[in-house]
Structures are given as structure tokens and as C-alpha cells.
């Protein structure tokens, strides 16, 4: 039987392993090589915030992998030989594969700041990082977050939940430069200030020095910050170093086709390392986000198992809870050309929406608004649907441009849900992952039986008569 090797135990790797098993059946030989336990990075801040215990961070454990016939190998891949079709690990061991998936993810960047290697300065990327920060934090420390990007903000939210005293320093002129435009960022910055988070944008940290127990940060804008903990969140880079000389094509990420296959047949890539098809424009791009990693893994897994499956492409999307301010972004939101955007901006709430149009199709969107705004959440999902389906809105596009907070009508009238429903990535209904924290079954109603809550309803109530509605065409 074919031997499938997967490098990397993150979401992409695990999804691929499971998909191979489900597709190829019990005979397939699967090996998962990873230098870390299988866990989800984006969950680490919630671990930091004490929302979840450590075991909830894991996406699989030894018992689970064993039960699913996945050989788990701990180690660092040093080299891939595409001719011999082997991978070599740091301990010198070599493993032969029939198909290979590279899902090695990315690492945190360390910016060149004087004094960055001191105690009390942490990246927040790995489970080990998280443990270090948690060990260091006592009470409600003063924390400085360097880098106001997506990852940084999840950490920020966790620190805010813990009531830490927070400052944020961002080199670019705005926070969340890769998730929001200037107006959206303005909303977030105002909100942060109202939540007692000090925001320094357009400022670099020039040096970090020790002053007794505390750290002192000197900023390019002249400010000086005192901190107990400094968190570095200045971006990530794909883990590609071991591919040098392998002949695998790299362009920002590992370039893959719509089956997630690299330029070398039988070798696939997925997740943060992969530059895969973009849903909207046919190009390839790295979308280093959780849902894309899982999609990549599933598509790669199916193809590795011999079931030819094509990926329509990933949609760049992000979502954040910034201390109860909800932010979401989709697709190509970057343009500011008046003719192709529709915006709603209410600085006091704050509420911000931006839709980007290509003709009568929506190709990008931004949302900022209070987290308790249930209608916005509704619209966020529907806008995702409109973009994903590349729905031609016809006259409804004009309607949405005139009534930007009324997406629902257009969504319904254009039959977008109808168009999306029934379509699946792998040509079959998705299955629930078998790995369950604490062995929980995803069964039924967790909030207790709702029978008593809703009371005993008389059976006959089903049949209240109602006027048969003649419908609008009656008058025609």
C-alpha cells in the first residue's frame, strides 16, 4: 500500500491525515512527522486567558493517532529528496514516501530590536511560548504588544480579559494593516483607547532595556514605555528553509495547483507554507489562516489518496473580537476607489462597513461593529456567501449600494443560499472529526433538556388557520 507522509501536525497536516484515512481506507500507511504536538496555534491566546485548559489546545494525541493508524513521528525534517522520494530528519533517519505533504506552517519573526533577547520579551507563537508568558505573568502586569496584527490582537484580547495594563506599538500608520483599511483601523483605535489600551502607531521600538525588575522601551516617536512583559507579534514567515535545493517551486510560499500539488508530482503542500489558488482572481497566494489550512489539508489528502479533487480556491478572511468590538474582513477589501466601494461609517458606535465591487459582484468586504450586533453577524455571513458564490447581483447590487445595511434582501432574492447549499469541497458531506477533547460526544442538547423549559404544548396548536395569501401577482 501507498505510504503517505505528512510533515507538520497543525490543522492542515491533521486534516490531510484524516482525509487520507477516510478516502483510502484502512490499508493506507500514513506517517505524520512533527516537531511539536498537534495543536492549534490560534487557540493559544485563549489558553493564556485561562478560557481553556491546555488539553483543549490539542487537535490530536498519541492515542488518537494510533487509533486511526497514523504513525506519529517526532522530529524535524532537514531535507527532502524528490528523486529518491525520501525525507530525512534531524536525527538522520530517512523515510520513503509515495506521496508527501508539506504542511510545516510558519514561524514568528523576530524584529531587529536592541535588547530583544532579554528575559520578559516573548514571541507568542508556540505552546512553549504561551507557557513561558503564563509563568512570567503575575497579577495584572504592564504588557507591551509589539505588532498590531491579527495574531497580536488575539493575544491582546486575551490580555485584556486578564485585566492587564496594555500598550500596543505598531510600525505602520494604523493597527491591523493587513486586515483593515484606515477607516476601519480608526474605529478600532478609538475603541481601544476607550478601553484604556494605549495605542502607538507609526512608531518603532528602538530599544528594550532593563530598569530593575521592569523593562523600558524606547519608541521612535519619543515615547518611553515601562513594561513587565513584552510580547512580540511582528509577523510570521513560512517554514521553507529545508526546501533549499529540493527543486520544489517556491514563490512567497510553495506554489501549488488546484489539487494542492507542487511542481513535483506526488508532493503536495498545504496551509501557511502553501501559495494556493485564490478563489477570486485565479492567482496563487498564501492565505495563512485556519480555515484555509484545513481546506488545503482536506483537498491535498483526498488527492494523495487517489481521489482527484479540485479546489475552487481560498477566500482570504479574518475575524477578531477586539475587546467586544467585532472585526471581519473578506477578499479584496483593499481598494479605495470610489466607484467600486460602498461604505457605512458611524464613528460613535462605532460601525464601519465596506463592500468592494467588481461590477455587480462583491469581491471584498470589511465589518467593524459591536459584538452584540446580531444583525451584523448575520450580514457578515451572508456577505461571505455573496463573495464565495461570486454572485452576480444584477439590480440588487444597486439596492445594496443604496441600502448597505440591508444585505439580507439581496442575498435571499438572488438565491445565494440556494446556489451554495449542497455543494461540498470533497464531493461528499463533511464528517465530524473523531478527535474529541475529553472524549465528548457531540450529541444533542447541552443545555439540558429543553422540554421542561418550553413547557407542555397542546398538540392541537399545530393547526391555527391562516389566510391563504394571494401573493403579489394577484393584482397584476
Amino acid at each position: 500500500m501507498a505510504h503517505h507522509i505528512i510533515i507538520g501536525g497543525g490543522p492542515a497536516g491533521v486534516a490531510a491525515a484524516e482525509t487520507i484515512r477516510a478516502t483510502a481506507g484502512p490499508e493506507a500507511q500514513i506517517t505524520l512527522i512533527s516537531n511539536e504536538p498537534a495543536y492549534s496555534r490560534m487557540v493559544l491566546p485563549y489558553y493564556l486567558a485561562n478560557d481553556i485548559p491546555e488539553r483543549h489546545v490539542l487537535t490530536g494525541d498519541a492515542a488518537y493517532f494510533e487509533q486511526h493508524g497514523i504513525t506519529s513521528v517526532s522530529g524535524q525534517v532537514e531535507k527532502i529528496d524528490t528523486q529518491a522520494r525520501t525525507v530525512t530528519l534531524g536525527d538522520g533517519s530517512s523515510h520513503a514516501f509515495d506521496t508527501l505533504l508539506i504542511a510545516t506552517g510558519s514561524s514568528a519573526q523576530r524584529p531587529p530590536i536592541a535588547g530583544i533577547d532579554q528575559e520578559g520579551v516573548y514571541t507568542f507563537w508556540t505552546l512553549e511560548d504561551a507557557k513561558q508568558v503564563m509563568a512570567k505573568a503575575q497579577g495584572t502586569p504592564r504588557a507591551v504588544l509589539i505588532g498590531a496584527g491579527f495574531i497580536g490582537f488575539i493575544v491582546l484580547n486575551a490580555m485584556a480579559k486578564l485585566d492587564w495594563n496594555l500598550s500596543v506599538v505598531e510600525t505602520e500608520a494604523q493597527v491591523l494593516p493587513r486586515m483593515l483599511d484606515a477607516t476601519g483601523a480608526q474605529a478600532v483605535e478609538g475603541w481601544l483607547t476607550s478601553q484604556n489600551v494605549a495605542v502607538h502607531t507609526g512608531a518603532q521600538v528602538q530599544s528594550i532595556s532593563r530598569e530593575g525588575e521592569a523593562l523600558s522601551l524606547s519608541l521612535s516617536n519619543g515615547a518611553s514605555l515601562s513594561a513587565d512583559i513584552v510580547i512580540l507579534a511582528t509577523g510570521i514567515q513560512p517554514n521553507l528553509g529545508f526546501l533549499d535545493g529540493s527543486g520544489i517551486q517556491v514563490d512567497g510560499g510553495i506554489v501549488v495547483d488546484d489539487r494542492m500539488q507542487t511542481n513535483i508530482p506526488g508532493i503536495y503542500a498545504a496551509g501557511d507554507v502553501a501559495a494556493g489558488p485564490d478563489l477570486l482572481n485565479g492567482s496563487v497566494a498564501v492565505h495563512a489562516i485556519q480555515p484555509t489550512a484545513v481546506d488545503h489539508g482536506r483537498i491535498a489528502g483526498a488527492n494523495m489518496a487517489g481521489k482527484e479533487t479540485h479546489y475552487p480556491g481560498s477566500l482570504l478572511l479574518n475575524v477578531l473580537d477586539v475587546i467586544n468590538l467585532h472585526c471581519a474582513s473578506f477578499g479584496q477589501w483593499r481598494t479605495d476607489a470610489n466607484e467600486s466601494i460602498t461604505t457605512v461609517w458611524n464613528p460613535t458606535r462605532p460601525i464601519y462597513r465596506k463592500y468592494v465591487w467588481d461590477g455587480d459582484r462583491m469581491v471584498g468586504a470589511l465589518f467593524v461593529g459591536p459584538i452584540d450586533d446580531v444583525t451584523m453577524l448575520n450580514d457578515v455571513g451572508m456577505v461571505k456567501g455573496l463573495i464565495q458564490a461570486q454572485q452576480a447581483l444584477g439590480n440588487w447590487a444597486d439596492y445594496v449600494k443604496e441600502n448597505p445595511t440591508d444585505v439580507r434582501r439581496a442575498y435571499v432574492a438572488t438565491g445565494t443560499a440556494q446556489q451554495l447549499v449542497g455543494h461540498t469541497l470533497l464531493g461528499a458531506p463533511a464528517t465530524a472529526r473523531a478527535y474529541r477533547v475529553d472524549g465528548k460526544t457531540p450529541s444533542a442538547w447541552q443545555k439540558g433538556s429543553h422540554g421542561p423549559l418550553i413547557g407542555s404544548r397542546p398538540d392541537a396548536l399545530d393547526t391555527l388557520p391562516r389566510t391563504p395569501t394571494p401573493g403579489l401577482d394577484k393584482g397584476k
Binding site: V43, Y46, I52, H56, V57, T59, I154, Q290, P291, L317, V319, L320, D321, H326, A328, D372, V374, L377, N378, D379, G381, M382, K384, G385, A389, N395, W396, R408, R409, V412, A413, T414, G415, T416, A417, Q418, L420, V421, G422, P429, A430, A432, R433, R436, K440, T441, P442, S443, A444, W445, Q446, S449, H450, L453, I454, R457, T463, R466, P468, L472
Partner: protein, 163 residues
């Protein structure tokens, strides 16, 4: 498997379904915490409750980084397990139907779980606009879309004329 069917013609927009849903989800009447939402399109005189279809692709489930969403073997409903969900909200942007919600009190995702096979919304609908029946795919979306669209077309035809 059984699914919710909405008969838009029968809906009067009374939102009894939302109230029942919020009540079983939270114990109080707060429609903003309901995961069934009645879309009221007054200009087209079309009203319809709308909630998760328990779709085959289960975008929420595959996107969840902690595997907090599973499939209830009894109902096929995709259910969120509160104690596993971390509230990252990724499912809310992954779902293309607008039917994944976020509870601002608990900071958890929440969605229709079909009440374990006895949906409170169906129970509370006074006009029979909601049914819980065997269905492969939701079969009412097209007629709903058609109604809203026709109403809109009609509106546009009338525009400009002195009504």
C-alpha cells in the same frame, strides 16, 4: 434526515419562533439571542424565519480550530460544544449562510442545534410556517428568493411613476 422547512407564505412575522429559541438557549426572552431569525421584508410583504440548514459542507465545523463543533448522531445537527468553543468566531466568517452567531455574554459561538430533535421554534409557530420533516436539501429557498425578487422587480417597475 429531518430538517427545518419554512413555508414563507404562512409566516406572519410574529417572531414566536425567535422568542422560543432565545428562551431555550438563554432562559429569557431576548430575540437577539435567537439563532433562528425572521427576515421581515416589508416592502415585498415577505416574511420568513431563517436558520442553519445543517449543510453538508459544514463550513463552521471544518473551520473550527478546536473541534468544538460536532455532528449530533441523532439529528445530524451541527452542534457547538460550549465548553470546548473558545469564541474565536472563525466559524461566523466561514459560514456563507449567515447562520453562525456569537453570544456576546458567553463569548461563544452558537447556532441551531435542532433542540436535539424537538425544535422549539417549530413547536411555537402558530401558523405552521415551520415544519421539521424529512428532506434532503432545503426545498423552500427558491420560492422564497422568487417572492422577494418579484416584489423588488415590481417596486422598480413602479418607481418614477406617480403612485
Amino acid at each position: 434526515m429531518k430538517q427545518l422547512r419554512v413555508i414563507t407564505e404562512k409566516c406572519t412575522s410574529c417572531i414566536q419562533c425567535e422568542l422560543a429559541c432565545a428562551f431555550v438557549q438563554t432562559g429569557t426572552f431576548q430575540p437577539s439571542r435567537s439563532v433562528i431569525r425572521v427576515h421581515i421584508f416589508d416592502e415585498q410583504a415577505v416574511y420568513a424565519p431563517y436558520t442553519c440548514f445543517q449543510c453538508d459542507e459544514a463550513w463552521c465545523l471544518t473551520a473550527c480550530p478546536v473541534n468544538a463543533i460536532g455532528i449530533d448522531p441523532d439529528t445530524d445537527a451541527k452542534v457547538v460544544m460550549d465548553d470546548v468553543c473558545v469564541g474565536c468566531a472563525v466559524c461566523t466568517v466561514a459560514c456563507p449562510y449567515g447562520t453562525m452567531f456569537y453570544n456576546p455574554d458567553s463569548h461563544k459561538a452558537f447556532k441551531c442545534d435542532l433542540c436535539g430533535g424537538d425544535p422549539a421554534c417549530v413547536k411555537s409557530c402558530p401558523t405552521g410556517a415551520l415544519e421539521y420533516v424529512d428532506m434532503d436539501q432545503p426545498d423552500w429557498l427558491a420560492s422564497w428568493a422568487d417572492k422577494v425578487n418579484r416584489g423588488f422587480q415590481h417596486m422598480q417597475d413602479e418607481e418614477g411613476g406617480n403612485a
